[in-house]
Amino acid sequence: MNSFSPTQLIDFTYLVAAVLFILSLKWLSSPVTARHGVLAGEIGAALAVCATLFDPELVQYKWIVVALIVGAGIGIPLGMVRMTAVPQRTALSHAFGALSATMIGIAEYYVRAPHVTKFGMVEIGLEVIIGSLTFTGSLIAAGKLQEILPQRPITYRGQNIVSLSVLGTAIVIALILTVHPEYTHLFPAMVAVALFFGVLLVTPIGGADMPTVISLLNSYAGLSAALLGFVLNSRVLVVAGALDGSSGFILSVIMCKAMNRSFTNVMFGAFGQVQAKAAGTTEDKTVRSATAEEAAAILASASKVVIVPGYGMAVAQAQHKVRELFDVLTKRGVDVKFGIHPVAGRMPGHMNVLLAEADIPYDRLMDMDNVNSDLPQTDVALVIGANDVTNPAARTDAGSPIYGMPIIDVDKAHTVMVIKRSLSPGFAGIDNPLYYMNQTLMLFGDAKAFVGDIVRELGGVAH
C-alpha cells in the first residue's frame, strides 16, 4: 500500500469533491457563510474535473477542450443574466443537466449494445427515460417562463390518460429491451417517447405552479445524475445526484405545502384555468380606491408597514421603486418589513433574490410564519403584484378552490393597500374578497409607476 494507482488517486479526489459538496450545501444554510459554500463547491468541482483529465482511459483531448470551451461560452452568459430572468435560466440549466446525463446514458448503451446485462438495461433504461423527460419538460418550462410559450395551462379531454400511456409506452419498450437486448433498434424509440412525455408533462401546467414544477424538475435532474452514477459505477455522481435530488424534493414539498396541494394535483390538476363563474360576482360589491397622494399620507403616518410582493412586482420591474419607497419610509422612522410567501414569484425564493438585487437588506425579508405573527400589529400592509397568496377566502371560505392554502394574513393589518391594474382575478381565476373589505384601499395602476408616485409624494411631504 505504498503507492496508489492513478485511478485510485482520481477516486480519492472524487471523495474529497463529494465532501466539499456536502460542506458547500451546509454553509448555504446562512447568508453569512453562504459564499464560502460556493467556494467549497467550486474547489470540489475543479479538483474533480482536473483529476479526470489525468484518467488513463482518455486517448484524445482535442474534443474535450473544444467542448469545455463551448460549455464555458454558454455558461458564462447564462451566469450573468438579470435576476428577473433567473427562473427561466434555472429551468434551462435543469434541461442542460438532464441533456448531459441522457447523452452519456445513450452513449454508454451503444458502447455496450447488444451485450447489455438485464440489470444494466434496467438502470440505463430508467436513467435515459428520466433524463429525457426532464430535458424536454425543462425546456417547455423555460419556454413558458420566457413567455415564448403560453403561460396558461394547455389542456384537452383525456389528457392524463394520453400522457400516462405515453410514459407507459416508454417503460414497456425499456422492459422489452431488458428481456431482448438484441432489439437495439427499439432504443431510439424509447428515447423519443420519453422526450415526448416530457413535453406532455409540463405543457398543461400553468405559470403559477412553476415554483413546484421547477423544484420537481430539479429533483428529476438530480435523480437522473444519480442513476447515471449507478450505470457507470461512479460514486461522485451518485452523491451529487442524491444531493441535488433531495434538494429538489424538499423544495417541491415546501412548495406543495405552501399551496396546500399534492404532487398529483399540481402535475395533473391543470390549476390556473380561467374559471368562468368568478367573473360575474364582482358587480355588487363596493371597492374603495385611493390616489398616490392619499396612500403616501397613510404610509407616512404609519409606524409599522409590511410590504407583500408577488410576481406582479417582477413583471412590472417595480423592485427598484419599491427599494426607494423602503428607503424613504425607513428614513422617516417607519418600520418596513417584507412578507414573502413561499410560492410568490415563479421559483422558490424568487422574491428574495429580486429584493436583494434591489439592495434591500435581507434581515427585512420575512417568511410567511414570521410576518403573520406581526400583521395584527401592523398599521399598513401594502400588497404589490400579489393576489392569491393574500386571499382570505383560503382561510374562511370552504368552497374556495384555494381553501386551506396558507396565506399572508394582510387582512389582519389595520389598513390594507393593494396596488393592482384592475379588479381582474389572479392566476387561479379566483375572486379575492380582500379587495371589498372596509379596511382595504385599492391603488389602481401600474405597480412601478404607482410606487414611483408614492415615493414622489413622500419626498414632497418631507420638504
Partner: protein
C-alpha cells in the same frame, strides 16, 4: 444483482439522507441560490462526460460525450457564477452602510 449496485445504493441512500438533513436547514431566503448551487454541483456529471468524449470508442459515443461535456460544463460555470452573484446581493442593513 451485481454487488456494485448494493454499494452504490448504500452511497445513494446515505448521501440522500445527508442532503435532506443539510438542505432542510437552508433558509427560505436562499432557496433560489440553493437551486442554482445544487445545479452547479450536479454538473459534476461532466467528469463522466469527459471520459466518454475522450475514450474515443465510437464516433457516436464521442459526439454524444462532447455534447454532454458542453452541456454540463455550462451548468457548472454558469451555476457557480450566478449563485455567487446572488449571494453577494444579500446584505444586512449594517453591511449595506459600511
Amino acid at each position: 444483482m451485481p454487488s456494485d449496485f448494493i454499494s452504490n445504493l448504500f452511497v445513494f441512500i446515505l448521501a440522500g439522507f445527508v442532503g435532506f438533513e443539510v438542505i432542510k436547514r437552508v433558509s427560505p431566503l436562499l432557496h433560489t441560490p440553493l437551486m442554482s448551487l445544487t445545479n452547479a454541483l450536479d454538473a459534476i456529471v461532466v467528469v463522466a462526460a469527459i471520459i466518454i468524449a475522450g475514450r474515443h470508442e465510437t464516433t457516436l459515443s464521442t459526439v454524444l460525450g462532447v455534447i454532454a461535456v458542453a452541456a454540463s460544463f455550462s451548468n457548472m460555470v454558469g451555476g457557480f457564477l450566478i449563485t455567487d452573484r446572488m449571494l453577494r446581493m444579500f446584505k444586512t442593513g449594517k453591511s449595506k452602510k459600511s
